[in-house]
Every structure is written in C-alpha cells, then in structure tokens.
Point group: D2
Chain length 308, copies 4
C-alpha cells in the first residue's frame, strides 16, 4: 500500500526540497527575515500580550489514545530543603516527565515521514533512539518570532465553533482573511481558529480529540502560495479527523512537514486572542513562539505569546 | 541558626510584599506594562534575533552536585511508526524527563523560601509534593516579553570573562550601563554578562559550576531602585559562589525571589548577544522569555530570544 | 476531624511499636526467621513455579484517579546501536518512568501515616521530597522469601469472584484456611484471593478499581493474632472500597502499615495460582516477593513467584 | 566491517537456535525444570537469606559513559497527603525514572544483536521505539528461581579482587568450582565473583567501570557445555573490558544473548555472599532472581536473593 495519487499531485506542487539548498534543515522558517520581524515589531499597537499555551499538568490533553504521548508528570525533587544547614535559605526544585507533543506544541519537521523520506529528502532512518532526529531536529530552529495573523474561521462563519466534521478549506481561510483585514504574506505565522478547544476547556478531552474540525488537504497549497512560515491551530489533530479521503491518514502532516518543510502547531488556545482581536478588529500581532531546543527533538512544548 | 542582620537590613529595604496587593503572585512582573512592551517593540531596529538558550540534552549543565536536578533525558517513543497501517504516513514522537532548573531556566518565585516564608508572606509549607507551588507557581506568569538590557560587565571591565571570585557590584552594573548607553528603567529585564558560560561551552561543566563570579548581595538594592522586572545571567549559581559572607548561602536568591518577588534566570548564553551588541554599540532589545506553564512549577526551562 | 474510636480500639490491640526495639524499621518481617524459611523450602513438592505479577506497561492498572501514580512508560534509549563502530555488536537499552505503586506492588511501611506518625512512632514529617522515607524505606527490607499461604476466599465461598461490596472478614479467612488445609502461622505471607482482578484481565480497569471487595477493618486483628509477616491480594485498594464505616478511609492501611508495621501487597494476580492450588488441594508454597531496593521508597514494584 | 572468524568459530559451537523450537523466546531458561527447582529447594540448609542487589538511587553505578542509561531518579508524588480530607489517613506515593540496566540487572536476550539478528534468528529490526522487543522481551520470562552456584574466582585465586586486566578463563571457573565443592550442572545459575564491585562500594564508580576484569571469550563454551541457565557477576561490563581481542567489542554479550539465548546479569553484589559461603564452605544455594515484567523490555532491574 502506498499514498494515493491525490496526495502526490499536491505534494509535487508544494514541495520545497532544495529551495534553500540541499543542507537546509528549517524549511519555511527561512522566510522569516529580519525585515519581516522588524515590520512585525513595528506593527505592535497597544503592547497587550495574550498567552496561547495550555497549562502543563496531569489531566491535560492526552487520553491515552496516542501511545507514549504522556501528559506532564510534574514532581518536586526538593521541598524547602535547607541544603546548607538548618536556618539557611531553603530550596524547592522540580522535575517533569512529558511527551514533547503532549500539550501546546510545535511539530518539528521530522515528526512525520512518508515513503521513507523526511523534509529535504533526508532518509526516515536518520531518526534513531540514540539521538532522535539527526536532521531538522527542533534544536536546529534558532528562533521563532514573526508576524502572526489570526484567521478566525469560526467567527468568519458566524459560529462559536466549527462542527467536528468541518474541513477548513482555502475559501474558509480567505473569508477569515477578509475578516482580519490584512493579507497573509511571506514569513507570517498563521493561527487558524476552529473553536474546538472549547471542548477541552469545558473538561471533555475525549470530545476534543475527535471527531475534530481541521485543515483540509487543500489548504497546504494555499499556505504554499502565500509563503507562510508556519501554521498553528486549536485542535489535537491539526487536520480534519477522521480524514476527508478514506484511508488517507495525516496527509496535511505529510505535506506540511515533509514536502514543504513547514512547522505546524497544535493545541494552541486561541480563545482569549479571538476575543481580543474581535474587540479591536485587528487580527495581526507580533508572535513569539520559541521552541525548547531539545537536541534531536521531533517536537517541542511551546508557550506562544501574541503581542498586540 | 538564622539569617544574619546583614541580610535582614537589605531585606527590609527591598521588600515588595503587599505592593501589588495581598493576593499578588507575580511580583515585579507587574512592572511590565503595556506601555513598556509597546516601547520595547518600537525599539527594534534591525529585526535580527539572537537565541539565548543552551541545547537541552544529556551531558548538559548538571554535574550531579544538585540532587534531583537531572539533565534532559530525551527519548523517542515512536520512530517512523505507521500508526494507520503499512505504507501510511509514519510518525515520530518523543518524550523527556528533566529537572525544570537543569538548563537555561527561570527560577519561579517559590524556588526558595527563608524563615518559613515565600514571596508576599505565603507560608513555605504551601509548596507540596502533591501540587507543587500553590502560590506563585510558574503557570501564574501569563507572559514575559519586555525590554531587555544587556549589562556586559565582562566587556565593561575589559576582560573576556570575570574571575571565579568576582562579586558583581552595583558599580560594575553602572559601568556596564554606561557602556550600554541606556539607563535601566522600570519593567526592564536585565541580562548580566560575566562570561563564565565560556567554561561550559568549552566542555568543562565542573569549572563552570564553581567557583563562579556572580551577583553580589549588594545588587538587589540596585535592581530594586531601578524597578527592574527580572534579572538573568550566564552562570549556574546566579550569585557569587562560594558566597561573599561566610555561611550566608544564597542571599541574593532570598532577596530577589522572596523579598522582592523578582524572577531570576540562570545558564543564559549571552555570548552571541554580546558580540552582536558590541558590533552595533546598542545593548537594548525586545526580549521574549516565556516560561512553560507547569502548574505549580517552581522553575521552568526557557528559550529566550533577543530581537535587536 | 480525627480518626474515630472504632479505629483506635483496634489500633491499640494490634500495635507493634517497640516490639522489635525502638530502632526497628521492618516490623513483622522480623517474624521471617531462618527456621521459617528453611521449613518453607522443605515444603516444596513439585518445583512448579507460578508468577503473580501483572505485565508493566502503558494501559495497565491506573485510571488517573490517583494523581502521580502513572503506568509504566517504557522507552528505548538505544536501538541496535553499534556503539563501537559499523559492523560491531549492536546494543538495545531501555528506560522507564513509573509510579512505584502502579502495578503489582508492595506498600512500604511509610506508604501511609496517621495522626502524624509512621510505624514505630516515627514522625510523618520524616518523609521528604529530598530523600523519600528516612525510616522504613523499602531499601531497609533485606529480603522477602517465606512460606506463602493462599487463602482463596472466592473459592471457599463457592463464587468466581466476590461482589464489589464484599468485606472479607475473619470468618472468610478461616473458611479459606480450612479449604487450604494448613494453619496460618508466624512468619507466613498470606495471599487473599477475591477474584476481583478478573475484571482487569478482562480489560475493564475502571470496574476493577471500585467498588472493590477487600479486607474488612476486622481482619488486622486476625493477622496480628497469627503473627503474619505480610498480606497481599488481588485488588487495587486492598481493603474494601468504598469503606465499611462512613468517612473512615483506608483504616486497614493505617492498621497494617503504621500500627502493626506489616507490608501489604496489591494488584497481585492470583488466578493461575488458584487454579494450580485447586488442582492439588495444596495451598501452601515457598513464596519469593523481593522488593526493588529504592532508597527511601514508600513502595516498590514486585514480581512474586510461588514455588509449589 | 564484520565480526572476525575467532568469533564465528565459537558462535557456531554454542549456538542454540532452534534447540527449543523455532518460536522459543527464553533460551537456556528452558533448562530450569521443575526437578531442578525441587532439588534446589531441597538443598536449602539454614534458611539464611543474602540479598545481592545494590540500592537504587542517584549516585549509583552510572557515570554518564553509556548514553541514556540513567541512575534511578526517585521522586515523591504525594507526601502525607490527606486525600480524603483533614485528619484522615495520609498517603505517601512515589515514582521513578531509571535505565533498566542502570543498577543490578539482567540483560534480556534482545539486549544485543549482531549481524542483524537476535536470539533464535529473529530480525534485529523487531526491536522498535514503539513496543520495545517484539521477541524475547523480559516479560516473556515467567519466573527465575533455580539452584545458584557461586564461583568465587577471586577467592580461588587467593586475591581480594581480580586485577582490571584479568580475563576470567574456563580454568578459573574450574578452580572456583573445585573450591565450591559442587559440579555446575544443567539449569544452574552461575554467579562469578571477581571482587571488582569493591571499587564501587568504596565510592569510585569510575574505577569500577573500567578497566574491569570479566569473562573471557572462551567461557561461553564452558557455560554451554554445562548447560547453565544464566550467568551473573559483580562488574559493570560483565566481560573483560577493554576486550581481549582488539576491536572485538562485547563478544561474550553476543555469544550469550544472541547465540546461546542465555540471560546474563551485571552489578550483582556478591561480597556478603562470598563471606557467607566462605564461612560454611558451601557455595550452592536456592537463588531467586525474578525480572520485573516490562513488556518489550531488553533488560530489567533485579533484586536477587540467595537462600542458603
């Protein structure tokens, strides 16, 4: 069994292998130039900051459906420990065990492979137990700060949240772009709001997980045409799940991460941001969304901040 | 045994308990107002971004000296796993176990207590194995983006790095401030460069750990006078270690975290930033240094980015 | 609020504090003498061995009900790694993160405290984040090998498994003892079979967890009278759950661990053993049930073996 | 590069593939029959028990030389937590992160592969990040209880401990066997004492690690001739390290685990046992050394007990 023609036709059109040289390991993040960042900073109006990460804790996003992707187990390794003797300053120290994709996170480029290949044609076998990802590991990303644009699809469609079976299409993105009043351009990080995370915030992580609205297989071409640097949304699966085309699982992952070399983010809480943008009618921001530099990491927790 | 008068005299002068109300849990981060952030964004000149975090991996900073503070153990829990059957898109997923203070990190306010108290008078006993920090846990910090100012003490003193026994004094800070050409003001995040991290980058984590140059017990008053929001530097211990006053261990921790309610950062790699600032003669930046929101966390890894 | 008189009356009768000296840390394990073990070995008839542990894996016993008690996350840290160069012998290495009480386990004596005290009057506060249990940590147990006696309460009552609301009484134990055809005596390890674990083996960990049959508050006096060394059974909660007496939670834990200083085991799979004993009519065995010696551990995974 | 002829000649002679059928996953453990165990139990003389495991804790055996093999990080997840309300019984619960081969352990058969194969010809690729070892995982071992024989090579040679460069030969084993006064026979677990662990117990884990005395490449033939069920010793590397034949790394691992299908144990503390056996002149015992049944595990901590 292999991936269908429908997939390969799109793959051919959005493929970025070699675009930034044969040794490139960061893909579309190359589109975030100094100019892009300078202009993004210049676009800050109020200085208001909105956090987009979920808290990291047991009883978070994970249901056990994805083996090994465990919610954070936060533990104290020292509690008021008077290391230097009685009556001295006392220390608290903690540790954590967690799946790197367990909460609000970025998928690094090697998070998926298809047909034996990773982004830029690297062999899938270069990901090993010993060192993780040899190529495009998350530590290769130096920084992620750029202009962010909220494409509030739920609001543009006039609903509180999209239905579980809703595939977000290029038309949806353009309707939200019109609402946003700014054209998505090279180097932007696009935040696509479905509202699905309301289910999680209401306490039902199973309903949140699936069925889920999410990006259609047709959106990668749109992101590619606009030269977007990265895309994130407020769902567990990122793309519509179960998938639009029977037995074609995770096609958007494969197109974004492998073909385009574009990071994608999941479980981003866009609710407060939606409210804030709705109030001002302004949907662009300076967005900081820096990965934690795990050597060989195929993902990373991230605590993004929108500066309005 | 209790803390000496020399400590309490300073503590009294820098104490911020009640300043932002009896229920405040974030201390001097209150000083980062929308205006501060708006001006910091307006101060971006080139859009160049400099990362300040060390890679997260085994063989990192830790020597085993601090029990339970373990370097990141990064593991793959899925490698090219064809979850949905042969020939489908294959997944890589990873997990980590690590001390929250193991690498480049922020100390949260409850990282230390003294005399049975945490910041704002909360009882030290409110930190528990069950939930971590009940008050001022790192998840209470909504965002950290502000103006950053590099106080390059090593350069101001004309050395590559400060000697192990060097206590950074208010005079050192003012000399570096003069070099920086900007006055440190309310809401700023101050980055103090000693150069000590060069030892770590050269592969000697033991030499890096101690003896270490670091902040003198006299600097908290300076930071307090300037209403600084947070301070970070490029050492393991933050303050001079072994300490200036015999048997008075970690006094700067106690003054910053408990008395002032001011976050402090350690193991920040300021070398590339120093070079960049030296080239332009400009030592201020937009600094993003967002914690990962571990519920009850007394610390957090952080991957700061300076936008110049 | 404090524990009721009903509890304290029993506590007084079964208390073993000081019985083996003020410094004792292993309680009723003192009853396992060389003679007891020599006779247990002499009682081996066939050499058949029956394992009593559940597999250690994700999707094990835990439901998330008990915070921090996480099922084993088993990960590979090396896969066919040719450490010494291409073509050399290749290595596989693994690691685990798990709750010590997550699967088939022993509760160490300091697993619970009541009224501020642990076994032998040690202060509850001697259990710390820094070192775990200072007294009676599981590493203090040198060995656990003794005679085991299966008290098959389910079979003695003629049922496949006891109902969720069934409190196992001293009368139940004596009926099972009669079935066993041997009198429980000093130094024995008693295995009480309820059959509840069948629910887990059938895939329903929620039904397994509660309501659960288990030991009645009246059984500690029986175990004390017989000078039993340890007791284990095939439930999550060990004692009947929810409890017999309203608002009196975990009284059997407190009586066994704190008052008597007697280890107790949970999640032991006694199904195959029950079949084996039923076939021969012989319910005694040489039992090995060695803890893993975690320094300061308040519990331990155990993989017990019955030698028939 | 491939393994030299010297290796393959021995491999051919000791190979057990197919001996217990094409589907066998436990190798020489098949040699532990009911009769073997019955006789081992009958051989118990005093009932004295000697534990052979090192404590599990930070600051244990590991030096960081073997990536990912981390010493146990033991943490409390609940400390005197009154789960059911103030004044109720309070709970202590703990968790651990550790390498399965970090302390006293068994190597499972798939711990190494060579030439792309595991024991019984299974493909090396059947060990995956997803599930660990598909074949011969440690959970496939039902029980390990048998006769143990201490071959005290150090004592037989009249030294406190063997020198770092000493390769234990078949002649050494036979001299120790003569001292032991019993012939090693089918199904026995052989404990080979070098005394090397004295270095670890004295606090020097680096000296302990290497150079290390250990089994010569010529001993597998001896173990094979005697139909031994398993072998363990008191070193980190098990076999002499650095190796006897230049560039032939870990040949004994490959012969035992892959060719013979024989478990091997490392970091067993045989000091107290040596003293006990020396006192009585009797070197055989009933040995219990049960693995923890990690699903897919390529190793396991073990806390062996010798019953004399």
């Amino acid at each position: 069994m292999s991936l269908p023609d429908a997939f390969h036709e799109i793959a051919e059109r959005v493929n970025n292998w070699g675009r930034w040289g044969p040794d490139d390991e960061i893909g579309t993040l190359n589109l975030i130039t100094d100019t892009v960042v300078r202009e993004a900073a210049a676009g800050v109006r109020t200085g208001r900051r909105v956090p987009l990460a979920l808290p990291l804790r047991q009883g978070g996003v994970q249901t056990g459906m994805i083996p090994g992707r465990v919610d954070p187990l936060h533990v104290m390794v020292q509690i008021n420990q008077e290391i230097f003797g009685p009556g001295t300053v006392a220390c608290n120290d903690d540790a954590v065990t967690m799946g790197l994709q367990a909460g609000t996170h970025w998928d690094a480029l090697p998070h998926v492979s298809h047909s034996g290949r990773l982004y830029n044609g690297r062999p899938a076998g270069s990901v090993t137990a010993h060192g993780g990802a040899e190529f495009s590991g998350i530590e290769k990303v130096r920084t992620i700060v750029s202009r962010g644009v909220l494409l509030d699809v739920a609001r543009a469609r006039g609903v509180e949240r999209l239905a579980g079976g809703h595939a977000v299409t290029p038309e949806d993105l353009e309707a939200a772009e019109e609402l946003a009043g700014t054209r998505v351009r090279a180097g932007d990080i696009v935040l696509v709001r479905t509202g699905q995370i309301q289910l999680l915030l209401a306490g039902d992580r199973h309903a949140y997980s699936h069925p889920s609205p999410g990006l259609s297989i047709h959106t990668p071409r749109w992101f590619h045409a606009r030269d977007v640097a990265a895309v994130a949304n407020d769902t567990l699966t990122f793309e519509i799940f179960p998938p639009e085309i029977e037995d074609l699982w995770l096609p958007v992952h494969a197109l974004h991460l492998v073909e385009m070399g574009m990071l994608q983010g999941q479980n981003w809480n866009l609710e407060e941001l939606s409210t804030a943008c709705g109030e001002t009618g302004r949907y662009e921001m300076l967005l900081t969304a820096m990965p934690e530099p795990f050597t060989g990491g195929t993902g990373t927790p991230v605590a993004p901040v929108a500066v309005l």
